[in-house]
């Protein structure tokens, strides 16, 4: 029993990201409204960002900015002292991509609304079939 509890606690970051990812995926698959789908996509992307940032953490590591001694002006760059900068860099760019996809998705949603006067998927399909 204690093994299970320590297993759950030692990996709680993964449970958070899995829950967020499932919420986003559910919204993308099931929801009928296109804006809700877009929100689901954003939650999905946030889950991935959370996953990447959480694996960069090192115990007893600090921010990835080299600390320079104010008196002597020297520094010691030991890898164990600083958290892993690489996931932060990757996610910085992923946030940017998520903004770009959000902008395009909203633009497409506006276009669809102008064309069909609705954002509900089933109504759009019904109108397409009628044509």
């Amino acid at each position: 029993m204690e093994d299970v509890i320590s297993f759950v606690i030692s990996k709680y970051n993964y449970w958070c990201y899995i829950v967020l990812l499932m919420i986003g995926l559910y919204a993308m698959i099931v929801k009928n409204n296109l804006v809700k789908k877009i929100i689901g996509m954003n939650i999905f992307q946030t889950a991935i960002i959370l996953f990447y940032v959480s694996i960069s953490v090192k115990k007893e590591g600090t921010l990835p900015t080299i600390i320079i001694d104010p008196v002597t002006g020297t520094h010691t760059a030991r890898a164990a002292d600083y958290i892993n900068p690489l996931p932060h860099v990757l996610m910085l760019t992923a946030i940017v991509v998520s903004v770009a996809t959000l902008g395009i998705a909203l633009a497409l949603a506006i276009k669809i609304y102008k064309e069909y006067d609705t954002l509900e998927e089933d109504e759009i399909f019904a109108q397409i079939r009628k044509k």
Partner: protein, 276 residues
């Protein structure tokens, strides 16, 4: 559909939980992600680039190609949004509202009617107009310069503290969007026209790619900022540091312009006339 979706999501979640059992624990310093390439970045960033903020040095120097194409992606998103939404042909609106400033009387001018001259007596207002709130307008106008100074600080200080072009550019864009929200879209367009935003987004990408090409012309590899030493004369290591700053400024300009362009087009459905 709901049931199928729920089952699919649940199966996916089970798969991820099963996969997570093999992942390293929270904060494990010897996890595979932190043992291969990242120690190299941490240990050599001061020696090679003289940039204490490792995220900045990795973003703009070690992984410069990645960030360059990232900026291009942003630029592409702005262009795509413009091409999807922008209504080029000017269609006359059904009616326009003008408000007489002194008396507060609003005129509704129907299609084909005579529009008042561009005098100070009348001001154009949105058709879904809510009365201006003086407190909100004045406080937003006071906030804007502070936001912009902070944005410039975030861009310029990206070498030494969390920050950089992407973050600073978004904050700069937020100051213009604040004007557009607290006044109206046309006041924001007066400060930064659509032409300027399109031009600046191209300029930002050009600064980034141009810096890389300049390094190529100076006889080094593409985006190898050490070659800028012969122009700046500050040593190879400091040349990399300055090269990163130039590139970050380019990224900041591009991000700011594209964010504003996206807002203009999304909020007014591409008409850029009346909006939020």
């Amino acid at each position: 559909m709901k049931i199928i979706g729920l089952i699919a999501v649940f199966l996916c979640g089970c798969l991820l939980v099963y996969g997570a059992s093999d992942f390293p624990g929270w904060g494990d310093p010897s996890s595979p992600a932190s043992t291969h390439v990242s120690p190299y970045y941490i240990e050599t960033t001061m020696e090679f680039t003289h940039v204490p903020n490792i995220v900045t040095s990795v973003l703009a120097d070690y992984r410069g190609y990645d960030t360059m194409y990232e900026t291009t992606v942003i630029f592409g998103a702005g262009i795509a949004c413009f091409l999807l939404l922008r209504v080029v042909k000017k269609k006359d609106p059904v009616s326009r509202l003008y408000r007489h400033k002194a008396t507060g009387i609003t005129l509704r001018i129907k299609k084909g009617g005579k529009i008042p001259d561009k005098s100070n007596a009348f001001e154009r207002i949105d058709s879904e107009w809510v009365p201006y709130d003086l407190i909100i307008q004045i406080s937003c106008r006071l906030l804007v310069p502070l936001i912009q100074i902070f944005a410039l600080y975030v861009i310029a200080h990206g070498h030494y503290s969390p920050g950089g072009g992407f973050q600073g550019g978004v904050i700069l864009a937020a100051s213009i969007i604040l004007i557009a929200i607290s006044y109206d879209l046309r006041s924001a367009l007066k400060i930064m026209s659509e032409r300027a935003s399109a031009f600046l987004s191209a300029i930002g990408v050009f600064i980034y790619a141009g810096t890389g090409a300049l390094c190529l012309l100076l006889g080094a590899n593409f985006l190898d900022y050490a070659a800028l030493d012969s122009l700046l004369g500050s040593g190879m290591v400091m040349a990399r540091s300055h090269g990163i700053l130039i590139v970050e400024i380019g990224v900041g300009i591009a991000v700011m312009a594209v964010m504003i362009c996206l807002y203009y087009n999304l909020s007014s459905e591409g008409k850029q006339d009346e909006g939020l």
